[in-house]
Assembly symmetry: C2
Homo-oligomer: 629 residues x 2
């Protein structure tokens, strides 16, 4: 048996791994070849880069928005992850120009925010929810990533100068009008900055923001919102249910997990565990989406998971994945990677088109073009908020596209973690790693077609004594493990199969995860999907689109969870993707609205595709939860 | 066979019938003894009656609202229906005081609207949607009812003086800023006034308002709304789908049906038939509720019938019933009374508490206290609009309570209609009638416990030759008819069983409508209730409340439509009401959110009560559509 020593978890970071091929390499190539440039062009067109010149004046077009800078610095961070694997002078020049603009407009005292420089210069550090500190956080993250990738430190110097001002104003002088950010993000960025620079004061500032939250009388909110919306209804250690704006919440929880690790603090770690449990046992969609309502982009209440109006912001799933990556350091339990990959393969990837150039902010579980059509035909005052039916190239609030770039660019960080003499596999993907384990440097080479196939091969390229803890995903009912062709029976500990041995160079581990089609039902308190099932294969949730199932009323189809689905493929936007064909039944057509109940049913076949691939072929109906016999 | 001659339908009006006992007599007693007084007191408390003095000035409390007067005149109309059966000096004195106030503040030119007298006197006949003409319509209806009931004509004189002004300003001079009312109602009131006074100009004005609708360039709307919202997107004869605000729509369609009858006009009649068909085949709830959304209190699109957020304004169901009553004069088809009684017994009666003193504006199909609780815990800006879970005594916009008084007070008008030598039974209830049929006065005495029981007895109290057309409701799969104890086999023609004979005084007709419990399913395009059934017995839709089904997750219960329900009774708010106990199953409880689909089921019993009786025992979950095996 293997027990992780408390707070001994260690991340395996981007500089220790390289994604080599398979599913994620293709995603990275798409982002590298298309997304980075496409997002850059859209930001250019919309005046975001121009705004950095700080030349805007009242009456001019292109009025800067309070969070425009975070779009830019997140894009830089994402680009930097790719540069860290392959330098690119053209891309770097673009970034350097942006950094130069930042340098030029940075105030002497270090202040750096376009909006509060040219639009409301008198309102610095006054309005809690106006994203100043959020932007500062992303500036830090972008600066560190760019410095790590290129060795260029100008952006980092700018960031440090600004953070030193923030430290003075907030932590030392308390001269801002509020105490903690309305939109969290800077906390986890400060931890990164502390780790990167080793300077204690950044950790102190992160602690200050965490510890003051929920305790400050000066932390008022906008009229429309409440303290729950910004997770300041309680001191962070007392927060046990996930409340309010989901991205803010998960960025906060990520910082809390970071701090629990830094300080080996039980109270914070336990709050994080309780929050994770509340989310995953009461408030998450089967796709890994969080945020049951667009109102405040927020969590609602236990078991409230409406389908058509699910908000499920792409950034929220990214933030959840980031939180999971921290939680698996706190506690060796496969559930963290289970939910990380659930989000990654469904609502994170669902946020980007297969062509790589357009994006979803919201990721609903079902879509009805009739409803959207009616809605858009109504006068403005009579419209409801509905998720859009086609991805777009840029949003007014375009946080998700650059967040996808940095997520996919840093996906290698989700492969492994370590603790003491154990290496944990977290999310399976093809890649090479060199992992520091005490004084050993262990090289592993992983090859897999996951998530399309459940076979994973890991070659140990370094002689050494260590445990390899292979995660058995929660969707998997049966698995086999072989070492050098010989079957092993391993103890399963918190969803990890532990291989404890003295490894020789060239040892070959094969993990075969049986990947069946799975019919899943929800807790009966989830009123929205009572009587319905979702279909999964591996970590992929499947959905059906009208375009593949012409004339079938998707919501009325009853699937037979006893029948064996046929596996196939479907070419969508030039990519060959897995598909399923399932047998089901349908009630006969009728005129009018109501009739006596009949048991008559017509047989039909339903074609399903991975959820992440929906809405790549024009506007069409989509459904995830189906009636079941 | 019996064929109705076109446009020969004739209503059987309130002065020709008296409700004697049974279901509706109890409802009338409740309204007479409780509701009339309760609504009066609430209107008094909220300053509505005080406002009629026109003494309000800026800065004072009790600022009059643009539609307050319609609350008062509708209350007078309702009270008058009861006075028409039994005079009451105390009640009349209250009304006379209100009429005196109207007289005092009426302008010399006839203008009569409190709001535009004391709040914005410069804005008369300027803003189309500000309910001036709507209030004028209710003034007419109240005045006629009070004159008919008491012979007192002061209110009618006031109304006529105002209408003469409106006629001049709108029809003759076109000096108003718009051409047709934003909220319809005056059109059907003008038809009543024409019928009561015989004066052609009121018919001309009604025609003017109908014919100008959808054709006027001056009929703009509020910014938030659109022409569909006010049914002015098309000329009325071209309107074939029900659009916009439901009460406005159904008041308009009622006036269109009136005018079709007055003028024997096919184009208008056909538009009315198309609108009725669109509503009942595509856009109506099983409870007879209309209005799928609170946004604009309006129709949405075909088959869009969400449960929890159904708007289904009580007034809209009342207006639908009024429309049906007119349609069964245009066309002898049982479907009109089918839908009238569906609305009456479910969403109309659902609008009033069993104690008679509190009211619903909205009538949803399901209610979840968890959702309301969460919603009310949020900041104002983050709340969604949800139907309330307990009836209240008065609303800011309190149109429904007095509308219920006038509906229940005039329920006798829904018993019969005639055409040529045929008397049609429309809605069954215990009551006596003296019906003019050509030169015969036919007296009928009807006794029934309908809708609790399907047995109806009609005694013919006048010798005569006429046809009696007995409606066979659409919920009824089997019926028997006996005359003087002898079974008859009758032709069924458009849902009416025709008894064509020479009647003797004392002839006794017995109609036995087999009243089974009925499991009903919706068209498969109604995505919200796919896989679900509703339960009906007679015209009553049943629902289940949490309070009768402790700890059962109602949405997860699967009913067996093959099993025979047990009939019982339930005492609610002191009234003994029918109940049903049905067998069903439930999925086993679980921790967390998702698991592999299981076919395991636990057996449970579900108690159901009539929909109209819900929410009379505190806040509790409610559900109407259940999963079915």
């Amino acid at each position: 048996m293997c027990f992780m020593r408390k707070y001994s978890g260690r991340p395996v970071e981007l500089d220790e791994v390289v994604v080599t091929d398979g599913f994620w390499k293709k995603e990275q190539e798409l982002v590298e070849n298309t997304t980075i440039g496409a997002v850059y062009d859209r930001f250019e067109e919309t005046g975001r880069f121009e705004a950095l010149k700080c030349e805007w004046k009242e009456g001019m077009p292109g009025k800067p928005h309070i969070f425009w800078e975070s779009d830019i610095t997140k894009w830089i961070e994402g680009a930097a992850y790719f540069l860290s694997k392959k330098r690119d002078p053209v891309l770097e020049e673009k970034i350097d120009i942006l950094v130069d603009r930042m340098e030029r407009y940075q105030d002497e005292d270090g202040y750096l925010n376009v909006y509060f420089t040219v639009v409301e210069p008198g309102e610095r550090f006054v309005r809690r929810t106006d994203h100043e500190l959020y932007c500062a956080g992303h500036l830090i993250e972008g600066a560190i990533a760019y410095a790590k990738a290129t060795g260029k430190t100008k952006m980092l110097d700018i960031a440090v100068k600004y953070i030193d001002l923030i430290d003075r104003v907030f932590r030392i002088e308390h001269s801002a009008a509020f105490d903690t950010p309305g939109h969290e993000e800077i906390e986890l960025a400060l931890v990164k900055l502390y780790r990167y620079t080793g300077k204690e004061r950044y950790k102190l500032l992160a602690e200050y923001f965490l510890d003051m939250r929920g305790k400050s009388a000066r932390d008022s909110t906008y009229d429309f919102a409440d303290q729950e919306h910004m997770q300041s209804h309680l001191p962070v250690r007392d927060q046990k249910t996930a409340e309010g704006h989901c991205v803010r919440a998960l960025y906060l929880y990520s910082a809390m997990a970071d701090m629990a690790m830094l300080n080996s603090e039980d109270a914070l770690a336990e709050a994080c565990q309780a929050l994770f449990e509340n989310i995953t046992e009461k408030r998450i969609y089967i796709t890994g989406g969080i945020g049951s309502t667009y109102r405040g982009e927020s969590f609602t209440f236990d078991y409230d998971l409406p389908e058509y109006t699910a908000y499920n912001e792409t950034c929220a799933s990214i933030a959840l994945t980031m939180f999971c990556k921290r939680m698996w350091l706190i506690e060796a339990d496969g559930k963290y990677a289970d939910w990380a990959e659930r989000a990654l393969y469904n609502t994170v990837l669902g946020g980007i088109s297969l062509a790589g150039d357009s994006f979803y902010y919201e990721n609903p579980l079902a879509a009805d073009p009739r409803r959207n059509r009616f809605n858009s035909s109504r006068a403005q005052g009579l419209r409801e908020h509905l998720p859009i039916l086609e991805r777009v190239k840029v949003f007014d609030c375009s946080c998700c596209p650059p967040n996808l770039i940095r997520m996919i660019g840093s996906i290698g960080e989700y492969m492994y973690s370590s603790s003491g003499d154990t290496i944990y596999t977290q999310c399976y993907m093809s890649g090479d790693a060199g992992i520091c384990l005490g004084d050993q440097l262990i090289r592993l080479s992983q090859r897999t077609e996951y998530p399309m196939d459940g076979r994973v091969e890991i070659e140990v390229e370094t002689k050494g004594v260590f445990k390899l803890a292979l995660r058995i995903p929660n969707w998997c009912s049966d698995h086999r493990i072989m070492v050098n062709g010989e079957q092993c029976s391993c103890d399963i500990w918190h969803s990890y199969a532990i291989l404890d041995r003295s490894w020789e160079k060239g040892d070959r581990v094969e993990l075969i995860l049986k990947m069946d089609t799975l019919f899943v039902e929800a807790n009966r308190d989830v009123v929205d999907v009572a009587g319905r099932v979702a279909v999964m294969r591996g970590p992929l949730v499947y959905c059906a689109e009208g375009i593949d199932n012409e004339d079938l009323p998707l919501r009325d189809i009853r699937l037979d969870p006893g029948a064996l689905p046929a596996l196939g493929t479907r070419v969508i936007a030039g990519r060959t993707l897995p598909s399923l064909v399932l047998e089901g039944t349908l009630r006969p057509e009728m005129q009018g609205l109501y009739r006596r109940y009949t048991r008559n049913r017509e047989k039909i076949s339903l074609t399903m595709i991975p959820y992440f691939a929906w809405a790549n072929r024009g506007i069409t109906e989509m459904n995830t939860w189906f009636l079941a016999d």
